[in-house]
Structures are given as C-alpha cells and as structure tokens.
Amino acid sequence: MEQKGKDLALSRRAFLKTGGAACAMFLVAGSLPSLVKPAFGAPKEESITDVLRRQFGGKQVSQSHVDIKAPIIAENGAVVPITIVSDLPMRSDDYVKRINVYAEGNAEPFVAGIDLTPANGKAEFALRIKMRKTANVRVVLETSKGKLYGAARSVKVTIGGCGG
C-alpha cells in the first residue's frame, strides 16, 4: 500500500522537528530540566489509519464511485480547493448519507463531515481546506445502506516560495 511507504520515509519537516527537539533536550536537559517539558506539550498527532479505525471500526472501504478534484500543486496550503464527486444514487431508499473529508498530513486529519439527504439530488460537494504539508486528501462516503466508498488524491503543498 502507498500509505506504508509514506510512514516509513522521514519527511524533511519531521526530521527537522525531531532533530530540533533532540538538540534542545541535549542543551537544556542538564541545567534546566523543567524547561524541556513545554517543547513536548504539543497535541498528540493521530494517524489517518487510527482515525479511520476509530470512526468506522475497521470496516472495508471500497475504493470506487468517488472522485476528488484537487490541484496537483497548491501554492498555498491554507486554501486548497477540493471537489468531491460521486456517481452514487440519491434516491430516497438509497443515498449518500455522509461525506467525510480528511487531510492526512494535518495534526488532526479530520477536516469536515457533511450530512446529505435525498433532497440534495446529487452527491457532490466543494470546499476549501487547509493542509499543513504535502499529503493525501482522503474522502470516505457512507451510504444509507451502510456501505463505505472512498478515494484519495495527493496534493503537493509548497511552503515558503514567492508569497510575500
């Protein structure tokens, strides 16, 4: 799975962060141990697999019937326009009940949940989201019959650059 490879590779950001924290500890630990603590007080990050397991209990997600439209390169991670399109029916007896949107690189991957009804007529929704770093945007659709459909798309987020 693509997911596994991503976890193994230490990204530049993660390297700097862990490396920086280690350096800080090395310098400060001897004389002022109390100061080290706040550096580790950041909120605990939850991985996307944990989130999906918590929300759907390890249920199988079928990777079909859903498409995500998103830019390949987002120059600004604070505003990434995404459109979720699905060809699943929106009849009163069988419809898309909820769209869950995740940005895998974020500290809290869950971005938004949208409850739809047959009155929407079409399982499509567009939104602009914030992404902390280059990562997958993942979508999981729940239907009224309890089935799960999903899709993922990678978005490159450039940091720094020519914004000024």
Partner: protein, 278 residues
C-alpha cells in the same frame, strides 16, 4: 628584459587601467543609467501554456465562485457616499452618486501630476481629494477603509483597457521606475526583471515565475496568501522581503514610479478588480 623594465611596463599598465576606471565611473555619473534590457526566454503563448499546466484554472475558478473582496467593494461604495470632513462633502458630491464621472478614469492612472511634480496614483489622489476638497484627514494606507475606497474607485473602470501615458513629463519617472526594476537589490542580489522578464515562465523550485505583462491589471486584489485584500504596493513589499531587501513606505516616490512602469507593461489589458490571486 631586465627586472627594471618589466616593473616599468607593469606600472604603466596599472596607470592606464586606473585612468580608464576613473574615466568610466565619471562618465557613468553623468549619463543616464544604462540598462541592459532582457528579452523574455519564452513567448506569451508558451507562458500561458505552462501556467495552465502547473496551476490549471483553479485560481480563476475560485475567483469566479466567490471573491471575499466583493464585500469590501460594497463597503467602498458606502464610503464613497459618506460625507466626511469640514466641507461636509462626500466623494459622491463631486463625482456623481454612483461615481458616473469617474468611469474609465482609473485606467489612465498612475499619471504625471505637475502639482506634486511626480506620479499620481489612485490611492494618493483619493487622499489628496480628502485633504484639499473635503477637509478630511487622509486615510492611512492599507487600512480596510482606504483599500475599500480605492477598490470601489477602480472598479468604476472595470473592463476599460488600461491606457497609461509615459510621454512628456512622465518620461523621467518611467525611466526611474524601469531603472529600479532592473537594479539588483537585497541580500540575494535579485532584480525584479531577472524573475519577471528573463526567467518568466520558468520554475523557481515549486513556483512558476510570473510574467510582468499581467501584473498591474487587478489591484487591489484578494490574495490567498494574505487571507485578505491588499494593494499593488503591498505586493512590492512582499517581493522586496523575499530578496531580503529593506521595504519602502507605501506611496513613496520609488513605488509610484515602479507602479507606473508596471502599469505601462499592462497597457491595453482591461482592468479587473477585485482581483483574486494565489
């Protein structure tokens, strides 16, 4: 050759060189700054192609869907009709309730104004009007009200092709703006022209360098990076910061000359405000 004669030849050479250098620097001071102009590496069609390949139409689509600066435009309209200052007048008292008399006027800005012996911009003109005709305090640059008013005044010329004149007295200011554009600045030693003329359309890491043809036609604009609307000159400051150069104050002479230079590059393009940029 003896040692003595060798030394003499060397000395003579050095003498000629110093004299030459002195002469060169003297001539440089006298004449107008010589600018080695660049030609873009790629054609404008190729630039469009590359832009679409990298960013697609996502920004254009977002702009069409909803520009947060549209709310600012509404506020600007209210400010236009609001009476302020000792004369008890509003902008609308002179320029018509819906700014009828200002239609297409912003397309000729920035332009030379003998009263200030320099280049006049829309933002500066608004503040001069406030002081001279309304008796009101000038608006601080880049504040919400100032931008809203500037945006509204410019929006009255929406769709009108930019027609900036650089003839006659405006010429030296245009040349000054151009000289600034081609001069290398800051710790990184970049000139504006390096990125936006010579290498426009090439990638600088993950950024596509933009062509200066389309720089001036959409300000004030909402920029995603700022999360707010800002003026053209705020963008100058952003570029200045990127090359590690000290920023200049808003509406200073240099920035006004630069605005003239860049607006002239966009001559013929219709004004489209509020813009929506990455």
């Amino acid at each position: 050759m003896s040692r003595f004669s060798r030394a003499f030849v060397l000395l003579a050479c050095a003498g000629v060189l110093t004299a030459g250098a002195w002469k060169y620097s003297f001539a440089g001071e006298e004449a107008a700054p010589r600018i080695k102009e660049y030609t873009p590496n790629i054609s404008s069609q190729e630039y469009e192609k590359r832009y679409n390949a990298v960013y697609g139409k996502s920004t254009e689509k977002m702009a069409e869907e909803g520009n947060p600066a549209d709310f600012m435009l509404d506020d600007g309209k209210d400010l236009f009709g609001k009476a302020e200052g000792s004369a008890g007048k509003s902008c609308a008292s002179c320029h018509g309730a819906n700014g009828e008399k200002l239609k297409g006027v912003a397309a000729t800005f920035p332009k030379y104004d003998p009263a200030i012996n320099g280049i006049n911009t829309v933002a500066l003109q608004i503040n001069r009007c406030r002081q001279e005709h309304m008796g009101a305090a000038p608006l601080k640059y880049e504040t919400y009200d100032q931008l809203a008013l500037e945006l509204y005044v410019k929006s009255l010329s929406n769709g009108v092709p930019i027609k900036v004149s650089i003839d006659g007295p405006a010429k030296p200011f245009y040349e000054a703006g151009k000289a600034y554009y081609y001069k290398r600045h800051g710790q990184f030693n970049f000139s504006c022209a390096i990125c936006h003329v010579k290498y426009a359309g090439h990638m600088m890491r993950a950024n596509l360098l933009s062509s200066n043809r389309h720089h001036a036609d959409h300000w004030p604009a909402y920029r995603l990076d700022w999360g707010a609307a800002g003026s053209f000159q705020k963008r100058f400051r952003g570029c200045n910061k990127n090359v590690r150069q000290e920023v200049l104050p808003f509406q200073c002479e240099t920035y006004r000359d630069l605005e003239l230079y860049l607006t002239y590059q966009a001559n013929g393009l219709p004004i489209q405000v509020p813009g929506f940029k990455m």
